[in-house]
Symmetry: C2
Subunit: 387 residues, 2 copies
């Protein structure tokens, strides 16, 4: 008969998920499928018992892999560490569990280790991922600040990866605007990585959330960074890349978002800037060009809704003129008045058409009758020729 560890409780799926999160590395479809079929505690009981693989059960290579960390497994201690840091474990079905994680299918996280006063589910319901390069430029950081502030103004929360550069700038600008921000980490939520962000992490906890799928104390690894990006993509409704090198983790986040069917935006920049090369690559691959927060709102809105700010282009005097009116206006000289005949020849229009057009142009104040001729309204004023 199997000797189960003292912490094991066949009724406690929550603790079992915490255990699974320790036994596996992020993104383990075989574990998700087994847990889906036997329940977290049920699958763990079978693993602990070394029950022989039956039809539909994971093969011995999976069990061997998960068994590697069994000897030092202690989920109760992990949960105690988490609550000591003021955190909570979220599992599927919890009120704060973001249902969008289900979009990841068997690549979904088993549970989330969370610290922070924010309501993760609500934050993600209107979450915008603002992500980008660690090696950001002043240009990209300014954009990240503007976009984050615009997101807060529109009631969105900002999801990012807590890295130096664009991520950190986006978190900080969101907090500065009294917004809610979610940082998805590649290490345990009780750790501060990168170190220089300890103050930022403290502030995120006050209003938002620090989130990780791996247990407290875990170190960040490349593998975890790469897999973490799918969580960022799934936790926001739209992903906007502010700056990214041609090949970078940010590009992975954008790809993950696209694979989830989420809109992907990319902010253009100078083509001479390596920090924008990834954005331009995304634009070529079908991402939407995003230059301000109104355009993020458009990505979030149902198709057909136009939420962009009305563009206030400078208007010219000839705006909205019909074809004959524009041709007649073109023909009227600035100062020296000209008679109807030459106007007709210059415009290539009949006297009837030119007379009618002159009437409309006089009404609009663009043309002025002087003696037997016409000239522009204020002959003395210098005017630019604008085509």
């Amino acid at each position: 008969m199997t000797q189960y560890p003292t912490w094991f409780d066949a009724e406690d799926d929550r603790t079992a998920l915490a255990a699974w999160s320790r036994l596996t590395e992020p993104c383990d479809p075989a574990a998700v499928r087994w847990i889906d079929s036997c329940g977290p505690a049920g699958a763990l009981r079978r693993l602990l018992a070394g029950a022989g693989a039956s039809c539909g059960e994971p093969g011995p290579e999976h069990r061997a892999r998960w068994g590697v960390r069994l000897p030092c497994l202690d989920p109760v201690r992990d949960l105690r560490t988490l609550s000591g840091a003021g955190g909570r474990l979220l599992v599927p079905g919890d009120r704060q569990w973001p249902d969008d994680l289900d979009l990841l299918g068997p690549r979904r996280p088993l549970c989330l280790w969370v610290i922070g006063a924010g309501d993760l589910r609500r934050a993600c319901e209107k979450g915008v991922c603002l992500v980008g390069a660690r090696a950001s430029t002043g240009y990209g950081e300014r954009l990240a600040r503007n976009l984050a502030a615009g997101c807060v103004e529109r009631g969105y929360s900002v999801v990012s990866g807590a890295a130096y550069g664009i991520d950190g700038t986006a978190h900080r600008a969101t907090l500065a605007a009294d917004g809610v921000t979610v940082a998805v980490l590649a290490c345990g939520v009780d750790r501060t990585y990168p170190r220089g962000h300890d103050h930022l992490f403290a502030r995120i906890k006050e209003r938002g959330c620090l989130v990780s799928e791996i247990p407290p104390g875990s170190a960040p690894t490349r593998w975890r960074f790469i897999r973490r990006n799918r969580l960022i993509a799934a936790l926001g409704k739209v992903t906007v890349v502010v700056e990214a090198a041609w090949r970078s983790g940010t590009m992975i986040t954008a790809r993950e978002a696209a694979e989830l069917g989420r809109p992907v935006g990319a902010v253009p920049g100078p083509v001479t800037s390596a920090a924008s090369a990834g954005c331009h690559r995304l634009l070529r691959d079908g991402a939407t060009c995003v230059t301000d927060c109104a355009e993020i709102a458009e990505l979030l809105a149902p198709i057909g809704t136009d939420l962009s700010d009305p563009v206030t282009a400078p208007t010219a005097e000839h705006d909205g003129l019909s074809c004959p009116d524009l041709r007649v206006l073109d023909a009227v000289p600035l100062r020296r008045p000209v008679a109807l005949g030459p106007l007709c020849r210059a415009a290539g229009l009949t006297e009837t058409d030119v007379s009618a057009a002159l009437g409309r142009l006089v009404l609009r104040g663009l043309v002025h009758r002087e003696g037997t001729g016409w000239c522009r309204r204020r002959p003395g004023r210098p005017q630019d020729r604008e085509h």
Copy 2:
């Protein structure tokens, strides 16, 4: 019986087209349709004779309009002015007539007044329109220079509008690289507009062409500038907007190109630059993001051909590592060697998997055996943590 002008010759379609070009303003579908049905001289004869409108003929309002300039019409003088300036008239069917103008349908030009040593047809067969703002920035001008030079290198000619700013820069850079360039004007080809480009026009004539659909001596007007843009779009195989304000003539050229089914490229720039706002608008409307000449070549190439320069992204030591190898490499410490057991727990993999991965990593020179443990190959070398 009608008294025809002395210059009129019912057999001379070429002179008749020159006449029609004077009687009409650019883009007169009714004139094109009449000319298509009766021939240029035939339609002109009917107009001169004031023949009553029969079924399928243009209505009196069109005839009255074309009649306005009849009294001072003298196409022979116009042709003499052109040849005096070293130019030639091109009409449909001429060897140098660019057949792509037919794409414009009834909006096509009636004839082209051309000056320059270049072969217009050949130039347009591999023509790239590089167009943009008159109010260009140093950034846009640098890009225009690079793209024009790249076009010449690939054997393309450069079509543009001879304006200050991006257009002029593109023409100039093409000439500097010994390339062929075509300037499409909104005034007579014997006039220099803008004035500051007189030296540039002289150089364009040496190798390329100055082209206009309106007769010598004609002044540029807004109407002519607007309609001129359709000729630029039709004369190049692809249109690339380097810089453009949100609303500008350049945007019209891009729209014309798109309506002709031509690929449209837009060069991104800082979102903070008003001179790039039009480009970003085009990107949102479906234009292709263009950052170098290789990407223009892609637009020109048949779909499926990849002509872009191979991107040389810096490679990292963990490039191309398989999943277990990356997880094991993540687990191997930089300096202090660690034994197999802890490596297995850190990577979450079995001894079999970790041993195999270590073998591969040792072969790649990434990991080094030291005593009973493993560490990174060169423990002393400082290494960046790159995710």
